[in-house]
């Protein structure tokens, strides 16, 4: 069930009033929302609701046992069991074939085969997201940062449909306390919710889909037949497409949660206005980057064990981040570029005699420009189906200047300018728009929203393309 579809609109119009009707008795609301979330999830493949249920039972059982255990070694052993369970499920569904085929390729070089059969494994949608949320829950319990909640609340936490299939990756301390008491039906942030839903739909349906259909898919399908200018614009277009696609999804998810009375953490903060790679990761998929920081980078030692180990930890964290996105070596390279970038920035700032230059407007512009180019270069590996395509794209960037570029149209350039330009809008503008919207009467708000829906529907291509992050 995709957000921008009539099916979801009907589903939500049923769930929204039922949720608020049940809300005063929160013990009735929780089973209702779990059922609704499982219905939502079963729309892709009903069999995977058992996987989600199994993940819920497994992590709740172990979190409770970890909490009750008093002997440190026992607590640690239980944690490892919990992690092994989660990572095994993720590993089997997402990485099994990747592991077997990669091992086979490697070992065939020395004439040895892998005695494992490749299997046709269907990847359950959202598994990377809810597995990471489950790991948060058991690790936070182990660290003593969180007391395990009831099974019912944990089931809501893990399966709550607005975040279920593509995040944001909500931490237990952010959502579970909101499940303790009924949300107030008199304090719903409707203007922010509708603003996020409307802009999220526009970003996904109009900007992302338009760029995918009009330049990105063609160029990355066969980069060798395109001019350097087309390839360059396609790389920028992909940067905008993936931002519009993913941030559009999370905007809608946050908006839907707000209408139900819940708040989710922010996931994007104008990432293409970042002045460094480190700054980029504070603005891009923020819930994933802080997850990687708290559950990978810091446990590895963070920056506490010396300069070289800090670089190693940054690189390892980003390699894992890359592999989280997809079972492919191109994703690993994407992670390596970001990891190396983070390490290089750290070295640059920490080198002896380094004095931070004055923070001028020109300097800020230069930093933003350079960061954006590095991020776009990394996106080539993220988007390319193979190293061959990535290499063709990179070489095509320099070998085909002066050739015709029919795919670079005014519409494509406008969509890129809108996508990047939106990140430089004054921070107070959305607040002003929401404030104006909040002052309108019900009919006025409905009319504004209806017009936005019409505009999105009319300008978007026919059909609904799936969200990019669904495959992760």
């Amino acid at each position: 069930m995709l957000f921008p579809t009539a099916t979801f609109a009907i589903f939500f119009l049923i769930v929204l009033p039922l949720s608020w009707l049940a809300m005063p008795k929160v013990h009735r609301w929780r089973p209702l929302i779990v059922v609704a979330s499982y219905v939502f999830y079963s729309w892709w493949d009903w069999r995977f609701i058992f996987l989600l249920a199994g993940c819920t039972i497994w992590n709740q059982l172990l979190a409770v046992r970890i909490h009750r255990a008093t002997v440190p070694s026992q607590r640690q052993a239980l944690l490892w069991v919990a992690l092994a369970g989660n990572l095994s499920v993720l590993g089997y569904f997402k990485y099994y074939d990747f592991f077997v085929s990669s091992s086979d390729s490697l070992l065939s070089l020395v004439g040895v085969g892998v005695p494992l059969e490749l299997q046709s494994i269907v990847l359950p949608v959202g598994i990377s997201f809810y597995t990471f949320m489950a790991i948060s829950y058991v690790v936070d319990t182990y660290r003593g940062d969180f007391v395990p909640t009831t099974f019912e609340k944990f089931a809501v936490y893990l399966s709550f449909f607005p975040h279920l299939v593509a995040g944001p990756i909500v931490r237990p301390g952010e959502l579970i306390p909101q499940l303790d008491t009924p949300r107030s039906p008199r304090r719903v942030d409707t203007s922010r919710a509708f603003y996020l839903i409307a802009t999220g739909l526009f970003k996904k349906v109009v900007i992302a889909n338009y760029l995918a259909a009009n330049i990105v898919d063609d160029v990355f399908g066969a980069p060798g037949q395109h001019s350097s200018f087309e390839i360059l614009i396609a790389v920028y277009a992909y940067a905008v497409q993936i931002y519009a696609d993913f941030s559009g999804y999370t905007d809608i998810a946050i908006g839907i949660a707000l209408l139900l009375g819940f708040s989710f953490p922010q996931n994007f903060d104008s990432p293409y206005a970042a002045r460094s790679i480190q700054d980029f990761w504070r603005r891009w998929h923020m819930t994933l980057s802080r997850w990687l920081r708290d559950y990978v980078y810091i446990p590895l030692g963070g920056s506490r064990k010396g300069t070289l180990l800090t670089y190693r930890n940054l690189l390892l964290t980003m390699l894992i981040g890359g592999l989280w996105h997809g079972a492919g070596w191109t994703f690993v390279v994407w992670g390596a570029i970001h990891g190396s970038g983070l390490a290089a920035e750290r070295w640059w700032r920490g080198r002896p005699g380094h004095v931070a230059p004055p923070d001028t407007r020109a300097r800020r512009a230069l930093e933003r420009f350079v960061t954006f180019q590095v991020v776009c270069f990394a996106w080539i590996f993220f988007r390319a189906d193979s190293f061959g395509i990535a290499w063709d794209t990179i070489t095509g960037l320099v070998t085909g200047w002066g050739e015709p570029s029919p795919l670079v149209t005014s519409g494509v350039l406008l969509a890129i300018v809108v996508g990047i330009g939106s990140q430089y809008l004054p921070a107070r503008l959305p607040g002003l728009l929401m404030e104006r919207f909040a002052r309108l009467p019900v009919l006025g708000q409905a009319a504004v929203l209806a017009f936005a829906l019409m505009l999105t529907n009319a300008m978007g291509p026919e059909g609904v393309a799936p969200f990019i992050y669904f495959q992760f």
């Binding site: 085929s101 303790d180 719903v188 019409m454 009319a458």
Partner: protein, 373 residues
């Protein structure tokens, strides 16, 4: 921690608190949210009624389509009567897509009858034509292409064509005598049964005229294994998928597409449907392949059928997701859905197409000429 209310969690008690958020913005109520959502969807539906009606029409037959049509039909009428469809029409006109909301079911193909036998026109041949009175050669001379006069190749079809299409285009880029024109025109969820969803007959006729391809690689049928067809000629009915009437009408459309391309001077290479994970679907695809093969056989000079079925079968003759590549490595050739192709599968199809192109056309003699001169 878990047992304590979240600091920001509002109380459900009746105690009145100012209904403003932290930033001073006015907050709403749950009833307000529901009222705005319902009204926005009602008004939005009226504003978008022509598009919704078309989407409803394009659905597969069934109760959902019947319900959707029953709702969107009157909605479109009301929207038109209240002039609420005008803003959408203006937006569509402004972005150059005025015809988007029209339901186009016209199957525009050359009239049935003698299949077109037009050969690619205006191309140089390797040998001069036979002298008057001379014995005709056993095999006709192949049309030759050179780096100066490249073979123009266009790829089109449903979603199944996308991955192999790009492999074919990449192969074309690597060849000095093949030029990809129009890229890969792959349209998800389309086919020849439902011109209302996307009118391929019109599209192919337009593109053949504009791009002047020497070869058109087509891949259709993945969405055509249903009974319902739109654009039937007057008085024609189709009894059900696979029946004689269905085969006749589908064959007319396939043949019509081949003739459209032939009349534009092009040769059709029609990629057959592959074996799929579902035996029932494979059976339906077999039937479609048989119809296409029959039409291609009627037009040996202008259409070629390329079988993908056997190439993608495993050792036991059944569906295989992994096959050995040219280097003997097991590679994933089929997508997780059991129907579409992975890149390695696309490369296999591209090699098949290139092989056929080399059989049909002279793509190499220019090298000898260049070497001798």
């Amino acid at each position: 921690m878990a047992s304590e209310p979240h600091p920001s969690a509002p109380s459900a008690t009746r105690a009145r608190r100012p209904r403003t958020g932290d930033d001073g913005r006015r907050l709403g109520t749950a009833g307000h949210a529901l009222a705005v959502a319902v009204l926005a969807l009602v008004i939005g539906s009226l504003l978008s009624a022509p598009g919704l009606h078309k989407s409803a029409y394009n659905q597969q037959p069934g109760w959902q389509r019947d319900v959707a049509l029953a709702v969107t039909g009157p909605l479109a009428g009301l929207s038109s009567a209240l002039l609420l469809d005008r803003p959408r029409a203006l937006v569509k006109a402004a972005i150059g897509r005025s015809g988007d909301d029209e339901i186009d079911t016209a199957v525009v193909i050359p009239p049935a009858g003698k299949p077109a036998v037009t050969k690619p026109a205006g191309q140089p041949v390797t040998k001069p034509g036979p002298k008057p009175g001379a014995k005709p050669p056993a095999t006709p001379a192949k049309v030759a292409f050179t780096p100066q006069k490249k073979l123009r190749l266009w790829v089109a079809g449903d979603s199944l064509v996308i991955t192999p299409g790009y492999s074919i285009v990449r192969a074309a880029v690597a060849s000095p005598v093949i030029q990809s024109v129009g890229g890969v025109d792959g349209r998800v969820a389309t086919g020849l049964e439902r011109p209302d969803v996307f009118n391929w007959f019109r599209r192919i006729a337009e593109q053949v005229k504009e791009l002047r391809p020497d070869v058109v690689v087509l891949h259709f049928g993945g969405n055509d294994d249903h009974s319902y067809m739109t654009g039937l000629p007057k008085g024609v009915t189709v009894d059900g998928f696979g029946t004689a009437s269905w085969r006749k009408e589908y064959g007319r459309r396939v043949g019509g597409v081949m003739d459209t391309i032939a009349r534009g001077g092009g040769h059709t290479i029609w990629l057959g449907l592959p074996i799929t994970r579902s035996p029932a679907q494979t059976q339906r695809f077999d039937l479609i392949n048989a119809v296409v093969l029959q039409e291609a056989k009627k037009r040996p000079a202008t259409a070629t059928y390329v079988d993908t079925y056997t190439s993608f079968a495993g050792d036991n003759g059944g569906y295989a997701e992994y096959l050995e590549d040219r280097r003997g490595r097991r590679v994933k050739v089929r997508a997780g859905d059991g129907v579409h192709f992975e890149r390695a599968g696309g490369e296999m199809i591209a090699r098949m197409v290139l092989k056929r192109l080399n059989e049909m056309f002279d793509l190499t003699s220019w090298r000898k000429k260049a070497a001798s001169s």
